[in-house]
């Protein structure tokens, strides 16, 4: 397994270079260093001198990919792409265009993101599995058919509707929790409960419907019939025989997102005023802060690769027949 993981990590390098290149190209297709300078300097009284000064101080006074004025290797190294990329691979994210240390910001903002994303993820998965198993228990009945209709209905509703509807009903009309905000202390639960509830409910439709399909397929297997004929209770059959045998496809979809929970939720954090990495990314895009956008995409790519490796490892845990070679 060790050799497999090392090999996967080596494969990750060209992927990360590609992601970085793509981010760079996409960003500079719509933004020029001059646009970035203006965005930071403001809209008024901006002189050409001020723009040039900003570019020089922030390292954007070089060509993007190829420096014709230099010869040899420096024609490549004396470019914006090289100077901005090489530090990333040493996990040195540097400073945002407005001068703040990105590593410090990420370290500060990851906790609110995790405080929201982890419970939403854990409760959501568990709820979806339980609901799906419950529906499977009544397979073929009116309850099963009604549940499928309900799941499709829940899937069809926009995520924004859940958020705004939840805020309107629970926070505005019923006044049960604060409508937005965050507290880094023990009182954080007060602010997190509503986004977690909304996150879980909004995921039930798609999650439970998918798991139901997986569980139904397993529930027709011979070993389930055998378990039932042995007189095991339905609860035991569902949790000890159906669920473990349906785990591989569940793990495929679930484990890969676990590291990405760290990145937070763009929309949820913005609506609920949670100062996590999701809103950090959104703010940076709006401010044309390339340093932060690039760093966050890079971190996201690393986490995704880690997620994929963890998924492979989890297969060996869920199914002992699987070997990583």
């Amino acid at each position: 397994m060790f050799a497999y993981i090392v090999r996967r990590l080596i494969y990750a390098i060209p992927i990360l270079i590609g992601v970085n290149l793509l981010t760079f190209v996409l960003f500079f297709v719509v933004n020029s260093p001059e646009d970035m300078a203006r965005s930071q300097l403001g809209e008024k009284y901006v002189t050409a001198e001020a723009i040039e000064n900003w570019k020089k101080e922030n390292g954007y006074d070089k060509p993007l990919f190829f420096n014709e004025s230099n010869k040899g290797l420096s024609s490549v190294t004396e470019t914006i792409f090289y100077t901005k990329s090489v530090r990333l691979f040493m996990l040195d994210f540097g400073q945002s265009e407005s001068g703040r240390d990105i590593t410090a910001d990420v370290a500060q903002r990851m906790w609110p993101s995790l405080a929201l994303a982890l419970p939403t993820f854990a409760i959501g998965i568990w709820t979806n599995i339980c609901v799906a198993l419950l529906v499977v228990m009544f397979r073929g009945t009116a309850l099963d058919r009604g549940a499928v209709v309900l799941f499709v209905g829940l899937m069809s509703i926009s995520y924004l509707f859940y958020i705004i509807g939840g805020q309107y009903l629970i926070a505005k009309m019923w006044r049960l929790v604060p409508i937005s905000g965050f507290d880094a202390s023990i009182h954080a639960w007060k602010f997190l409960i509503l986004p977690i509830v909304i996150g879980v409910i909004s995921g039930i439709g798609a999650g439970a419907r998918w798991y139901r399909t997986l569980f139904l397929e397993v529930s027709h297997q011979d070993y389930i019939r055998t378990a039932r004929s042995k007189g095991l209770s339905e609860i035991t059959i569902l949790f000890k025989h159906v669920l473990p045998n349906a785990l591989i496809p569940i793990l495929t979809g679930v484990v890969v997102v676990i590291p990405l929970l760290f990145m937070g939720s763009l929309v949820m954090e913005s609506f609920f005023g949670i100062p996590g990495l999701g809103s950090y990314m959104l703010d940076s895009i709006e401010r044309q802060d390339f340093a932060v956008v690039r760093s966050m995409v890079f971190i996201g790519s690393i986490l995704y690769i880690i997620g994929l490796i963890l998924t492979d490892i989890s297969y060996t845990w869920a199914d002992p027949r699987v070997r990583l070679n």
Binding site: T47, E49, E57, D105, R175, S185, F191, G273, P275
Partner: protein, 715 residues
Amino acid sequence: MRLSLISVVIAIALQLVACGDVYNNPYTSVSDDKIIYYSHFQEPPKHLDPAISYASDESLFISQIYEPPLGYHFLKRPYVLKTMAASEVPEITPLNADMEKVEEGSDQIAFTRFTIRIEPELRYQPHPAFAKKSDGSPLYIFENAASSENFKVIADFPETSSRLVHANDFIYQIKRLADPKNKSPMLGFMAQYIVGMREFSQQLGKIERNGWVNLDNHDMEGLEVIDDNTYSILINGSYPQFTYWLALHFFAPVPPEVDQFFHNPGFKEKNLTLDWYPVGTGAFMMTKNDPNSQIVLERNPNFRLEYYPKEGEEGDRELGYLEDAGKQIPFVDKAIFSLEKELLPMWTKFLQGYYDRSGEGHSNTHKFFDQAFVIGPNGLEMSEEMKSHDLTVTTESKPGTHYYGFNMLDPVLGGYTEERRKLRQALSIAFNIEDEIDIFHKGTSLPAHSPIPPGIPGYLEGEEGINPYVYDWVDGAPKRKPIEHAKKLLAEAGYPNGREAKTGKPLTIYLDVQARATTPDKQDWQRQQFEKLGVQLEFRSTDWNRFREKLLTGNTQIYTHGWLADYPDPENFLFLLYSPESPLICKCDGANNSNYANDEYDALFEKMRVMEPSPEREAIVAQMLDILRRDAVWMTGYHPLDNYLNNPWLFNAKRHGISKTFLKYVRVDSELRRQKRADWNQPVIWPVVTLGIFVILLFIPAVRAYRRRQNMTIH
């Protein structure tokens, strides 16, 4: 079992209701022993360094902390300057090329010296940068990052101190504006005026840096410390508007030891910077800066004695703005600003009493206009729901103008011939800005008759203030000229019925807009305006970067733009059409996006801008406005009016169009707020109880079915 479960749920619900407490209070760790002002902000500030910050969202905070030499009178309108850090109005000395004093208005003026005397008792807020060892050297200066690793935020420094402000601190800050490392947005602009600034900046750009550079060791030609409380700034030529710049935070004092403190090794990596932790002399100091969540300002214990103004404009007494006249300020001990990006939570918290007013930098009532206001027989009225909250309204006339401009270099619409003027005038008449204001701004703006908005010298009320090329004065009010007149002008311009006379081709005009600033319904309406003349309108909407690029390269036909004044002088609006400000002429981000070039106008502008306010100057302004109206450089425009709502416990909530220094004037009735919050936020429990009972009832048949299934036997 069913009965017992239901009784448990009901019992819990009754317990919750019996508590009588509110559950939705977002302020979890706030003690009641202080008078607190609660508000919000929509955009996290990027910069709080007075040399760098130049956004209204940021001035919301730093205007309470930093004190430039001058400020604005809180109540008086039109806007009036007053002293702030200065003890008296700056002394202005015109000088000739030999640095000898000459008369005001003399054509020999080569320089102007501004001599500023500061308040002798002006003292900084407590801060660790001022803490000293027994030998008098700074306490918190570290040799390397490792020795300061235990200090992560300002609150980690146990020792603080303060000192009186010196004249040199103001000089030091101006040098900071010039330091290219600080990337001040003011550098390029101010270097045109302050003597020696450009050379000083170039000199600093060349020095080797290894840590803090003490700017006191580098001299800048135009600056002089006369004594501990007096300094002077020398500017090129005559520029009376420089006085207004002295009311901006760029000219507030920054002590060298604070600059040195924040240049400690390893501080920047922890975001311990002056850009994040402002240090000032104002009524408030920042004690918590988490711009992604909450910013807290607290009363500066070293703030000097200052009193609420005893005079205001007409009507202020009736509105209650003079009830606190002569009392010592500030009235509040603390201000908590929470980040609120989305409007629904912001508006909800305001109505629940968790914010004292509906907006700070932006009037958020627009988005909730139908809920907040109704159009009654007497015009705009507060809705019944808002009245039941006893809310008050503050209207702010912003010193700004939004406009539709013609590109004077455009081969179809531009140019200065009579035909082109008539073409532009015809389009101006057809485009009914009053309708746009009613439909899209819900009546809360004023049609613009010139670039100058109300409250700025040069704005005229009544018949003499209207644009006579677009309006007639009828029954004591301006009335848009009939569309037939516009059709006649269009025909005279060579486009009868909206078609080119020679070829018969329809006249098609392109409007360049930012994609985010337009909507399909607005575009439909805009098309209809030109269709009245048979003219076709096409839209070229792009993102902001591309839109700006078009303006910079003169690649527009009609465009929309806006301007918010930095200071209340007509010069700050009329320069928008001064030809050297054209981006194509200055090769910079000039403000004359219409690329208007009129020698007569330019000559009048050059004369007017160096004049002190006087009737003669106002006459020149009127003459310039006549030229602009005749040339129809801007198609139309409006001056924004914003309505802000205040909860009933907030007093002295008057808005100032230019200055954001308001916090030291506002007063809060904390007891009334506590009562209202309790009244307005009683939780509604029954839906949760009902839902709980419903879920339980749902489970009962499921459990029964499960049991039946488990006990099923095969016969």
